[in-house]
Symmetry: C2
Subunit: 214 residues, 2 copies
């Protein structure tokens, strides 16, 4: 499937849209690391299709999922380098095959000056990330593991099944694999889920929802 860049950014004026459509999207296979910590970034990146996940890695090697970038969203962190003097501190990995456009720095600044629609897009991208990061801080600082796990399971389930290893779930909620194993075991004992190698079947979504909120 081929996306025009502008198709992902509704509300753009025609001139801006056609400028963006002249950019050549990149195809990126699943598993590719897009940025590494400390790397310099040279443009504003928009995801056209696929899913990019951005992780933070602790000194102990433990990871936590900072946020996911879906079609029409920007990998905002990559933009920080364009604006401040900061460098990238997360690691971005293509979770699925992706198509991206990179808007070079000069064009980005130019569009920011010329197009109110483009500004709106960039701003709401910032606002969205800011909000989700604030929520992440809230979760990590205050929520119990059980609640975060239940939430992650509900969020990632498709037809009642979550396809992920315990280690992957641990990264998503920012915990350790062993802890996830034990919690899942406890949930299974209470009949809320059924465990299989590499996946989790959800048996009682309502109970999980209750847990996620507490």
């Amino acid at each position: 499937m081929v996306w025009a860049a502008s198709a992902c950014l509704p509300g753009l004026d025609a001139a801006t849209a056609s400028t963006l459509d002249r950019l050549v999207p990149m195809a990126v296979p699943a598993g590719t690391a897009l940025f590494h910590p400390g790397e310099e970034v040279t443009g504003f990146v928009v995801v056209l299709s696929g899913r990019v996940e951005v992780f933070l890695t602790g000194p102990s090697g433990r990871d936590i999922l900072l946020y996911a970038v879906e079609p029409g969203q920007s990998c905002v962190q990559s933009t920080l380098g364009l604006l401040g003097d900061d460098c990238y501190s997360g690691e971005a990995i293509a979770k699925t095959d992706c198509r991206l456009v990179m808007i070079p720095r000069a064009l980005f600044l130019d569009l920011m000056g010329r197009s109110a629609g483009f500004r709106g897009f960039v701003f709401s991208a910032f606002a969205q990330r800011m909000k989700s990061m604030t929520q992440l801080i809230e979760k990590v600082a205050f929520q119990r593991i059980e609640a975060r796990l239940a939430e992650a399971l509900l969020e990632r389930s498709q037809d009642g099944t979550v396809t992920a290893t315990h280690a992957e779930l641990a990264v998503i909620i920012g915990s350790a694999r062993e802890v996830v194993s034990r919690r899942l075991d406890a949930l299974a004992r209470r009949g809320m889920v059924r465990l299989e190698r590499g996946s989790v079947q959800i048996r009682d979504a309502d109970a999980l929802r209750l847990l996620a909120e507490s």
Copy 2:
């Protein structure tokens, strides 16, 4: 002391600067709560003097310091409401007497379209916050309390003294008062600090620096 708004925002063109200087700053006494969770925000707020601290409160009543806003910086969170449809999720409190300007929504959007300098200011404000929030996530998720405490002490010390109660330090590092008391006690036993009611004397800054990095 009276600040012109534009004096805090270097690099502005003359027209923008004079527009901003026409805004009337607000004086806010120490201790005032500027925003509450869920409140709607109507403008872009810039701190001219003083210090505003933004907290997140957990369901258990525990607080954590999200970030501090110092002169020339913006309370970016307050802007999210202007851009997305989100409402405010933190609580902002004037730590000292403050002077603020609030740039109304319409003027803000107008300036964003007209002034590259203003855009630069807004963007670097975003970038700065984004970076500091990323670092906060890293700390909360991965760092030991001891390291966070050491860092907080070094950061807040003036002439080798930190004027803060254990409860205040706990909020700064996002932990519980009792934990801070015990850690401080351990540091005191090792000769790195000396404890007094309401303050901490730093005795061995180098050792603390070592702890903060580990």
